[in-house]
Structures are given as structure tokens and as C-alpha cells.
């Protein structure tokens, strides 16, 4: 994907030297394989640090709330949806942003790849359009790209930026006929007690680091409810009840606001599938309100708004 | 092995509301076990962790002097969880005390010197301990002149009003009480901010140490005046505050640079502070 990267550098250079923006938000090559590093570039000379590959999965929208300068941002489909929501929720102004859509083929999941290595150490990766080549001491494996997508990317139906000032390259074809909720239906089909133990197991390894929360572009409350002390809503140990309370309440707070960008899951050091919670709410919102988060600046999340034909009676 | 996290049980003997806004109360504490009392040997300037079972612990400067041997005094401002819980307690209730913790004003170095004590607001607590200590017959002769400048927002916000009045009557201590504003026509002391009064009264820096405790804004404007008056940094002493938990240098949160305020402080000279990052 050298060409994408070069285009980015070119665009950044121009935007910065013409002072169209004060800064460009993009990625730098990571210091280890399958990693990337978000950077904010302020000077044209810095533009050549930009990098792009299938591990630039961090949602860059997470760096926007409350910024003051004019920023150009390279936005994948998911990033752009979070930007829409952030604009709707007054975290950043549309006029401040120059959004460069980066059509996305799905990002790769470094942990899935790691699992193939069986303890062997990866020293580098090379990408082609269909394959990921793994290089290590005495081995070179090739993986079929499509089998190692991040789970949210595999079921993504908005790979092109939904809002943009320009597109870096031609849009990619959107995936069609994707079943987004297979896993959610499986959980819904469980008996209550089975479901409870499913979530119990899911969250048992959690170390309460809150990386999932901090990685989320929609978790921008000035003080998160878990950090409040008067009153203190929940304990701070790794007591399972407190841990579950954190996750359940966080998920509810994202109902209709989560874009399924996967940034939470990606950040979790314990590889916990926290999207299992947000996806259920995403499905409910879709079924109840026909709403998909962050597709348009004209539609606020349903739980942020009131409309006379809301499905529930009690709110009228 | 002594467990440094285990508080001594104490009984609240009395509670005195100090200020007109009722936000500051002084708690007089008596040890449940006399053996604990004997172990608790402090110097003025140190603090202790007060423990409210079920609520948590708070670091509070020890307001009683080491010369007041039968009890401990703490004056507590109501701000958050633990201080509010403590304010709701009354005589007879049992709490815990852990300490004494931290260092103290440099009494060894200050011996034979003149002492200038400058305090503002409710940060007067360990200064009260210091004054009572200095005025004790056993100690008074070991120090030179004692000057105190103490200010609060209003007359009703002054701590230890009876003692202030009593000290004001003595001739072995010079005391300048001031308020930011007074609407009481009978107010017989100064009106003005602490820095201004310090400038006006201009205590001599000769052979003197200045001990300064107060809100950041007071400190900020008082230090330049002390410098003008000729107090060198090494004889300008301050007590700092950082959020604390363990109080014994282990939990890692109260550092300023490499110094743990709970263990290496809270008392620092300006010389020491000038070498640390200004992150407090």
C-alpha cells in the first residue's frame, strides 16, 4: 500500500504548507511489527513521517475532542462515523476539520496473527493486497488477509468515510449481505443463567485498566462515573460485580453512539471482547429506531433526542 | 513487625466548631490504649492519617503541640468523603490515628533563632502546634523573638480565637492578626491580605526563620516579600500538600520530583523546593 502512504504525505505536505490546516492527524510506522503510532504533524517537514498499513486501526477520532486548531484527519469509515457523532455532541466543530477519507479494506487483528505464531517471534510483516507475509528468525509464512481481519472489520458495512472533504483514492466496494449480529443472536438465545455465566466468563480477566474506555472516541465524559467519589458509584477493586457494573453501564452509555469501530477491543491488554456488550445495544437501537450511529450529521443518536413516534410509550 | 498501615484506635473526646461557616471543626482525640499514646511521639509540623472505618483515611496536620500530652488535636475542613463523614461524628465515636508521619519544622536548626510564623486560612493547624510548643516554659528560652502573622477571610473564619486572644495579651510573642475584610465595627486587629501585612509589619530577617503555611495564592505573594525582607531560601520553610494514601512513602502518589511529600516532607525549605519540579 505504498501508494496510499505516498498520497498521504503529498496531501499533508500541501495542506500544511498552504496553511489550510494547523496540523495533520495520521499515523507513523510503529516501532514493532503490527503496530502503528498516532501522530499530529504541525510542519510540512514532518509530513514524510506519515505511514499507512493494515495495522493503522486506532480510531483517530479519539484525538479530536476539545482540540482548538484546524486539523486534517485521515479517516477510515469508522473514524468518520465517530467524527460525525463528535460533531453532533459538540466535541469538535465541522469547520475545524478537513476530513480526508481513506477507503479501508478492513484492518488486521494483531492478536489473531500472533496466535498463528505459537511463540515464534515476528520480526516483520509485508503486505500485498490479498496476503500478509510474516517474517521471523528462520520462517516466512503467508496468511490469507481476509481471515485475519479485526472482528468488527469483517462485518463492517461502512468502509468509506461517510463525511469527507476529499477522498484519498476511489471508494472501495462496501460489503453486502453481512450478518452483523450472528454472535448477538447466539447470546440472546441463551437462557438467562447461561447468559449470565457467559458474561461472567467474558469479563473475568478484566484488570480494570479502562483502556477500553480511554480508547473509545465516544467516551469523553469529563469525569467518568467510575471515577466519581461523591457518591462513589462502584468499588475500585477487581471484584466481579464492580467490574461487570462498569462494563454494563459503559455499554448502556454507548447505546446508539457506538459505531463498532473496535478501538476498545483492540486496546484491551487482556483481549476481552467488550464489543459483545455494545453490539447487543447496537442491534436493539437498530431494531427499535432504525438508527445506525454516525452516518449523517442530520440524525442525532435516538437516546439523545425525543421524537413523538419513539417506540416506547413511557416517554411520551 | 510493626504494620505501618494499622491505625491506633482513638475516641473523639470533643468537637469544637471553629468557624462561622461551620466547615472547620477541631477534634480532640484520646487514645483507647495508653500504650499507644506512649508510642505516639511527634514534633510540631508532622501530620497523621485519621481513619474512619468504612470511609477511608485523610492526612491531617497535628494541631496539638507535643507538650500537650494527654490528647491530640486535629482541625479539619469539610471537603469530600472522609472529611464529611468525620464532621458528622461526635464525642464518644471511635476512629483511628496513624502516625506521626512526615518530617517537622526544623526545630534543631531553629534553636536560638528568631521565628516568624506566617499562616493563612485553615493551614494554621501545625502552626498552632508550633506556637504552643514554642511558648511552653521548657522551650521558650531556647528561641529568640517570635512573630506571628495570621490571616483569614473574615473574623469569623479565624481558627483558635480564644487562644489568639490570649497570645495577644502576652509579651513574649508578637502577633498580628488580619482579615481580608471585616464588617464588625469592634474589630481591633488588622485588615488586609497576609502578604500586605507581612510587608507592613516587616519582621526582621536577622537571625530569623520564616515558617509559611497557607493557600497557594497567599504563598505566591508572600514569598517575594520575604525575599525582599532578606529571608534567604534556606531559612524560608513551607509545608506542602499532595493527595495522599499510604502516608509512608509507598503508594507512590504524593511525589514532587523524587521526594515523597508524606515521608520526605511535608516540610521543605525554599532551597529544597527550588530544586524540584514545580508540580504541586
Amino acid at each position: 500500500m505504498v501508494s496510499l502512504k505516498e498520497k498521504m504525505i503529498h496531501r499533508a505536505l500541501l495542506l500544511l504548507s498552504e496553511r489550510k490546516v494547523d496540523a495533520v492527524l495520521g499515523f507513523q510506522r510503529g516501532t514493532i511489527p503490527m503496530m502503528s503510532h498516532p501522530i499530529l504533524i504541525r510542519h510540512p517537514e514532518g509530513a514524510d513521517q506519515l505511514h499507512w498499513d493494515s495495522f493503522c486501526s486506532t480510531n483517530l477520532a479519539n484525538y479530536l475532542p476539545q482540540r482548538k486548531e484546524r486539523i486534517a484527519i485521515f479517516a477510515k469509515g469508522c473514524d468518520s462515523r465517530n467524527i460525525v457523532l463528535q460533531i453532533l455532541e459538540n466535541q469538535i466543530k465541522r469547520e475545524q476539520l478537513y476530513i480526508i477519507g481513506v477507503p479501508c479494506q478492513g484492518m488486521l487483528d494483531r492478536r489473531k496473527v500472533q496466535a498463528e505464531l505459537n511463540g515464534r517471534e515476528l520480526l516483520g510483516v509485508r503486505e500485498t493486497s490479498q496476503h500478509l507475509h510474516l517474517l521471523g528468525e528462520g520462517f516466512m509464512d503467508s496468511l490469507e488477509r481476509s481471515s485475519y481481519l479485526q472482528e468488527n472489520c469483517a462485518i463492517c458495512t461502512h468502509r468509506n468515510a461517510v463525511i469527507h472533504d476529499e477522498l484519498l483514492v476511489e471508494p472501495v466496494l462496501e460489503q453486502e449481505g453481512v450478518d452483523r449480529y450472528e454472535d448477538v443472536r447466539a447470546i440472546e438465545a441463551m437462557t438467562a443463567s447461561k447468559r449470565w455465566s457467559y458474561f461472567e466468563e467474558l469479563l473475568a480477566p478484566c484488570i480494570r485498566c479502562y483502556a477500553c474506555r480511554n480508547a473509545c472516541p465516544m467516551c469523553f465524559c469529563p469525569v467518568c462515573f467510575v471515577d466519581e467519589s461523591t457518591p462513589q458509584w462502584l468499588g475500585k477493586s477487581i471484584d466481579p460485580t464492580d467490574t461487570k457494573t462498569f462494563h454494563f453501564l459503559r455499554a448502556y452509555h454507548l447505546a446508539g453512539r457506538c459505531t463498532d469501530c473496535g478501538n476498545c477491543e483492540r486496546a484491551c491488554p487482556m483481549s476481552i471482547k467488550v464489543r459483545q456488550l455494545t453490539k447487543k445495544l447496537e442491534k436493539d437501537i437498530l431494531e427499535l429506531y432504525g438508527y445506525e450511529a454516525g452516518l449523517s450529521l442530520d440524525q442525532s443518536p435516538p437516546l439523545d433526542t425525543y421524537s413523538p413516534d419513539d417506540p416506547q410509550e413511557f416517554i411520551r | 513487625m510493626e504494620n505501618p498501615y494499622l491505625p491506633y484506635p482513638v475516641r473523639i473526646d470533643s468537637v469544637v466548631t471553629e468557624t462561622e461557616d461551620r466547615n472547620l471543626k477541631t477534634f480532640k482525640l484520646i487514645f483507647l490504649n495508653s500504650a499507644d499514646r506512649e508510642k505516639f511521639i511527634h514534633r510540631a509540623g508532622q501530620f497523621a492519617e485519621l481513619s474512619i472505618a468504612g470511609k477511608g483515611e485523610i492526612p491531617i496536620g497535628i494541631a496539638s503541640s507535643p507538650t500537650e500530652q494527654e490528647y491530640l488535636l486535629f482541625t479539619v475542613n469539610k471537603v469530600g468523603v472522609v472529611t464529611t463523614a468525620l464532621h458528622q461524628m461526635s464525642a464518644g465515636d471511635v476512629i483511628g490515628v496513624r502516625g506521626p508521619l512526615g518530617n517537622w519544622y526544623p526545630w534543631e536548626q531553629m534553636e536560638g533563632k528568631n521565628i516568624v510564623i506566617i499562616g493563612g486560612g485553615f493551614a494554621f493547624t501545625t502552626l498552632r502546634a508550633s506556637i504552643v510548643y514554642l511558648l511552653h516554659p521548657d522551650n521558650r528560652s531556647h528561641f529568640g523573638d517570635i512573630t506571628v502573622i495570621y490571616g483569614a477571610r473574615t473574623p469569623g473564619m479565624l481558627l483558635y480565637k480564644d487562644e489568639l486572644a490570649a497570645w495577644n495579651e502576652r509579651d513574649d510573642i508578637r502577633i498580628h492578626i488580619t482579615v481580608d475584610a471585616a464588617d464588625d465595627p469592634n474589630w481591633q486587629y488588622n485588615v488586609g491580605f497576609v502578604p500586605a501585612i507581612t510587608q507592613e509589619k516587616a519582621p526582621s530577617a536577622k537571625d530569623a526563620y520564616a515558617v509559611v503555611c497557607g493557600p497557594p495564592i497567599m504563598i505566591k505573594f508572600t514569598l517575594p516579600i520575604l525575599r525582599e525582607l532578606g529571608f534567604p531560601e534556606e531559612r524560608t520553610i513551607m509545608s506542602l500538600e499532595m493527595r495522599m494514601k499510604c502516608g509512608v512513602g509507598m503508594c507512590g502518589r504524593c511525589n514532587i520530583g523524587g521526594e515523597y511529600v508524606c515521608k520526605d516532607g511535608p516540610v521543605f525549605s525554599l532551597t529544597q523546593l527550588s530544586q524540584l519540579p514545580g508540580e504541586y
Binding site: 510503529g30 516501532t31 514493532i32 503496530m35 503510532h37 498516532p38 501522530i39 492478536r111 496466535a115 511463540g119 517471534e121 520480526l123 484488570i207 485498566c209 479502562y210 483502556a211 480511554n214 480508547a215 471515577d227 468499588g235 475500585k236 477493586s237 477487581i238 471484584d239 483492540r266 486496546a267 491488554p269 487482556m270 483481549s271 | 513487625m1 505501618p4 494499622l6 484506635p9 483507647l32 481513619s51 474512619i52 472505618a53 468504612g54 477511608g56 465515636d93 471511635v94 483511628g96 500538600e241 499532595m242 493527595r243 499510604c246 509512608v248 512513602g249 509507598m250 503508594c251 507512590g252 502518589r253 504524593c254 511525589n255 520530583g257 523524587g258 530544586q275 524540584l276 519540579p277 508540580e279
Partner: protein
């Protein structure tokens, strides 16, 4: 003390035997990672990954641990009086700990085992725990232990060090505590010259394979305030999301919080890992926060490890080069780069 040797097949039996007199902790597979856990049989051990995702610090400093218990029933004459919680301090063995992680315990001793105060639980656990380390024949590309006073075969902090040599483990005896364990279990066969040669060869090739190097030599000389005020923090901090992952996975991050919890009439005082990356860490009751900004919190982590600690103890940096933070930081903030910025 002469090196011993044991066949791997017998070693498995040894661990099973040791389970009778020790609580044994070892790396155990948890999906696609391994972590230290108390085991009940030797076959639970999984040494296939270079190191565990979480460091073994939780064995000495559990993420959440009860310190005291009390009741808040006002009618009781013991109300509000704290009692120390009973702990199981029976002998423990950590098997498979890497030299860097053992060295980390030694560094944490500087914090928890001081002249003025001793953390009773840390000190007791250190005393009752035997560390049977495993040398790293194949360090990761992110390991930089040799730059920070440890190494893939470094004995510091360990009681015994096992070296994997084909079908055998060569056992280096480092302390009397380790020797005692071997003697009690009758592991007395001394390693032959050829075995020692093989172990030495492994050590040499392992050392050579470490390509990741940082320099720490000038840290002590630099002026604290100059480092503190450096411009590079602005750049380093940009990507950080203050998630605290780096501090939780790190073997040399020890900060903790103390909390009270009450259920009905019974209460506990417990301590939990905390992180300088969290805003609550330093928030005053008044609302003032000396480290309110992300930059200040990130700077605190690195200044603490690479400067304050260096100056305070003169025992090097508070980092053992395990590379966990490098691998786990979701946005690739690489401490090796910060070493460079601070040291050079």
C-alpha cells in the same frame, strides 16, 4: 555453589512433589497469552511463550488485597477498630519467572522494605517465596534487559536459575534458600562439564541475539528540572490515551490506592493497583490537581522510572527491560524511544 542438573521428565515430577510443600506459581495458558497462576499440577505449566502478558508482580502485590477488616455495628465494643486480615503466608515457589522479573522484585524492595517503614505483606511474601527462574534462550526483539542491569541469564533476585539444555535443565544455585530446596528434594547431581559448556554457549548466543539496546548512562547526570521542562514531552504524550496499561503490565510499577468497602455491618480496607496515568491519582479534595494534564501524567511515569528513581536510590532505572509496555501500549508509545530522548 555447584550447578546441578535434572532431566526434564524428572523435573515434572519434581514440580508435582513440590506442590505438596509449596504453593507453586507458574505461567499458565489463558487463550492466546500466558500468565502466572497458582497451579495444582505440573502439566498446567506452559513455557511456550517468551514471557507472560502480565508480570508476576501480582504474586507479591495482588491487584486487590484486603489489608484490614472491621465492623461498623455501633453496638459492638469493637466497632471501627481495624484488625489485620489473616493471610496465607505458607511457603511459595515461583517457577518459570524470567530474570528481568526477578530483578524487578529487588527494585521494589527499595520501596517496600525501607529502614523507616516496612510493608508487612510485601516483606513477608518476599521472605516465604522461593524464585526458581528460567533463563531466556530466545529473548524477544523487544527485550532490552541487558541495557538496564539485568540479562537473559542474570541471577539477581533469583534463588535458582534453570537453563534449558536439550532434555535437561541445568540448575544454577544462587542462594541458600535455593540450595536448601534442592537438597530437600534430593536434586544433588552436579552438572557435568559438557552440560555447563552447553549452558554457557546458550548464554552467549542469547546475549548476542539481544539487539534492542537503550542507553541510560547519562540519566543521573542530567538536571531534573531541565528534563522535566523538555519540549519532547509534548510529542511523546500526544498519542497516549492515559489508559494505564503500561503501568499495569509493568513489573516495576508498584503504585497502589487504599479503599474502604462496607457490606452491611462488615467492612474491609483494601488496596488496589493504581496508576499515575489516571487523573484521580493526584486529585485533591479541593478540586486542585497538580497533574491534571495528560502530559504531566505521562511525564511522571517516565521521570519516575528514568530519573527520580535513579537519583533516589542510585541503583539504576526503575525498568528491567522486559518490553511489556512496548508490546501492550495500544498506541505504541515506546519507552526505548523515551530513554533516547531523556538520556541523549
Amino acid at each position: 555453589m555447584a550447578d546441578r542438573v535434572i532431566k526434564k521428565s524428572e523435573f515434572i515430577e519434581l514440580i508435582d512433589r513440590l506442590l505438596e510443600s509449596y504453593r507453586v506459581y507458574a505461567p499458565v495458558r489463558q487463550q492466546d497469552m500466558t500468565n502466572f497462576q497458582e497451579i495444582s499440577a505440573a502439566d498446567q505449566v506452559d513455557l511456550s511463550l517468551a514471557n507472560t502478558t502480565m508480570s508476576p508482580k501480582s504474586i507479591m502485590l495482588p491487584q486487590s488485597e484486603t489489608m484490614f477488616e472491621f465492623n461498623v455495628d455501633k453496638t459492638s465494643d469493637q466497632a471501627a477498630i481495624l484488625r489485620e486480615t489473616e493471610k496465607d503466608l505458607s511457603p511459595r515457589l515461583i517457577f518459570g519467572i524470567r530474570p528481568c522479573d526477578a530483578k524487578a522484585f529487588q527494585l521494589l524492595d527499595l520501596n517496600f522494605d525501607t529502614v523507616a517503614y516496612k510493608d508487612p505483606w510485601w516483606v513477608a511474601r518476599r521472605k516465604t517465596t522461593t524464585l526458581m527462574g528460567l533463563a531466556c534462550n530466545a529473548p524477544c526483539s523487544t527485550c532490552f534487559c541487558t541495557s538496564v542491569g539485568s540479562g537473559p541469564f542474570a541471577p539477581e533476585g533469583l534463588d535458582l536459575l534453570l537453563v534449558d539444555v536439550d532434555d535437561y535443565f541445568l540448575i544454577q544455585v544462587i542462594t541458600e534458600k535455593g540450595e536448601k530446596l534442592l537438597n530437600e528434594e534430593g536434586i544433588e547431581t552436579e552438572a557435568a562439564g559438557a552440560m555447563k559448556q552447553a549452558a554457557l554457549a546458550s548464554e552467549k548466543s542469547s546475549l548476542q541475539s539481544i539487539k534492542s539496546v537503550v542507553s541510560a548512562a547519562s540519566l543521573a547526570q542530567h538536571d531534573t528540572k531541565t528534563l522535566f521542562d523538555s519540549d519532547f514531552w509534548e510529542e511523546v504524550q500526544f498519542a497516549c490515551i492515559n489508559c494505564g496499561v503500561c503501568t499495569f503490565v509493568c513489573p516495576t510499577c508498584w503504585c497502589f490506592d487504599i479503599q474502604d468497602e462496607v457490606h452491611k455491618d462488615n467492612g474491609i480496607r483494601l488496596r488496589n493497583w493504581d496508576s499515575c496515568m489516571f487523573p484521580l491519582f493526584t486529585l485533591h479534595g479541593s478540586g486542585h490537581n497538580p497533574r491534571a494534564q495528560k502530559l504531566q501524567r505521562l511525564r511522571q511515569r517516565f521521570m519516575h522510572k528514568l530519573k527520580y528513581f535513579v537519583d533516589k536510590y542510585d541503583k539504576g532505572v526503575a525498568c528491567v527491560g522486559c518490553g511489556r509496555c512496548v508490546q501492550q501500549c495500544p498506541v505504541n508509545i515506546d519507552i526505548r524511544e523515551v530513554f533516547r530522548l531523556m538520556n541523549d
